[in-house]
Subunit: 307 residues, 2 copies
């Protein structure tokens, strides 16, 4: 890993079309733009190569999955080597017959496949039927830190972003920045006002990870409206928020999409900012690791005590 | 504990004078106002009975400490019984010669002393010299839930608010609301702009606890400017933020002080809101308790890996 005072991060946000070729081309175009603007580490949005098929249950969607390495990662490995970029490339990963993950490949600046992160927290909610498609990541591989050419980074995927434990473990592992490739939006059956509150909660939660841990947080989300393909009523679909952003180690917005559908964000991240923030607000100094074991429990309250 | 759809929370925010009698009277006045406006559970700010003596090192300040029960808690036990209120009363607690805690007494609506919470995370920073005064709470008593007449609640104190682990364990213990008595502000040597960013980080962090856990969060902070008593240069002091607030289980502001120095906030908290929020965004369902053990580590990265 090269030593430098700064590293430069790029995020590529787009709406997704039915044809993966379009999405992959659009992503590559965004990566090239980010590189032109100085980015060294570029992250694509969750499952960027396809529509968000988890909106329904479709056994045909499994055909979208591929192995790592496979055509998708190989294409972006070439691009990484060409542009000397670190790339974070989400993949619907086929690991074995019947074993599928919601993954991200981490590709180093020489094009080498550095590793794979497999989403640990899997949602199952109306229009977000991920438990049907994905088995969760293995706890033995949980929340690793990847030492890339430009920074030590962790990748967490979408639903992972609601869990402070994941962010904490990544930061304790030495991550300087957490990347959150994401696909989140409001159900069309919900009001825009509710959607705004959801988007607020989403940003607050991730900014809190930056603050609690003194790390950069970069979240890249898809945009646009996607409907369920079969038997869809008008209100059965998702309007994805877009609203990708990068927060600094004190939770301030360093860059943020302002309602655009397609957007490339590029931001300089300063190592000195991590050090200064952690010196001024030294939360890691005072953690009570002797008192946290109950974090490992499912729930503590006795059933009899609950209403 | 009575069964009800709602419980009503009050927070009493004030600047503090040098004379404890003034502060205690002002607090009692606030408690009575909150009760008149329907509050059932009222929380006072951290160390409300005195100036924030931790601004410097003063052995004389230890004289402010008292036992629990003691005159301060007994006074508020009477008030609780008179008004049928649950009261959360921060106390500079003398537990034994040389053993002092930054504590809060939890008094039930019949005036009984239900328990004591002793601050677990102790800061030590310019003008916040708490490690000089307070020994940290015992891990065996960490983050308990108190079943009061009106709600199951946990109390966490000030610096505790930066630690997602504490909020999580309280919520897993069955807390419906987390109270954060607080004394936070900007150093006078820092710009108001920096102070605003600190206040933002402070609210984001606590709102994130509400969101991550699907609980109410009530934070009550002192206001006003306090200078170091001895050898104080003009810029040696703290402007406390005030800015007390109550967040609902999705992190929305249910009530918030708007820059006033003295303020009594009263808010209805709905149990159905906890249930609905947790059904809609079921974060507790998907926690990976098989993968969180590294939360119990101080730091994971090998020293050799660090710059």
């Amino acid at each position: 890993m090269s030593e430098s005072d700064n590293f430069v991060v790029g995020l590529v946000q787009n709406p997704c079309a039915v044809d993966p070729c379009n999405n992959i081309s659009l992503a590559e175009k965004g990566v090239r733009e980010a590189a032109n603007r100085g980015a060294q580490i570029v992250c694509l949005q969750e499952l960027f190569a396809s529509r968000y098929f988890c909106i329904g249950h479709s056994s045909e969607a499994f055909a979208l999955a591929e192995e790592i390495p496979g055509p998708l990662t190989q294409r972006f490995q070439s691009l990484a080597a060409e542009l000397s970029l670190v790339l974070i490339v989400p993949v619907f990963e086929k690991a074995a017959p019947g074993v599928y993950f919601n993954s991200a490949a981490i590709i180093d600046a020489d094009g080498a496949l550095l590793g794979v992160y497999r989403k640990m927290h899997i949602p199952e909610d109306p229009c977000f039927h991920e438990k049907y498609y994905f088995t969760p990541g293995d706890p033995g591989q949980s929340f690793p830190v990847f030492k890339t050419a430009y920074a030590r980074l962790s990748v967490l995927i979408c639903w992972d972003q609601w869990y402070p434990e994941a962010a904490r473990i990544a930061a304790l592992g030495g991550a300087e920045i957490l990347f959150y490739p994401t696909a989140i939006g409001r159900l069309l059956s919900e009001s825009p006002e509710v959607g705004g509150e959801q988007r607020d909660a989403w940003t607050i939660m991730q900014r809190s990870h930056a603050i609690a841990n003194g790390v950069y947080v970069a979240s890249v989300n898809r945009s646009g409206v996607e409907l369920r393909e079969r038997d869809a009523k008008d209100d059965e679909g998702i309007e994805f928020f877009g609203a990708s952003f990068i927060a600094d180690p004190f939770g301030r917005f360093a860059a943020a999409a302002q309602g655009e559908e397609s957007k490339v964000l590029v931001t300089v991240c300063k190592r000195s900012e991590i050090e200064t923030t952690r010196q001024t607000w030294p939360f890691l100094r005072d953690r009570r690791i002797d008192a946290y074991k109950d974090v490992l429990s499912r729930f503590l309250a006795n059933v009899k005590n609950m209403r």
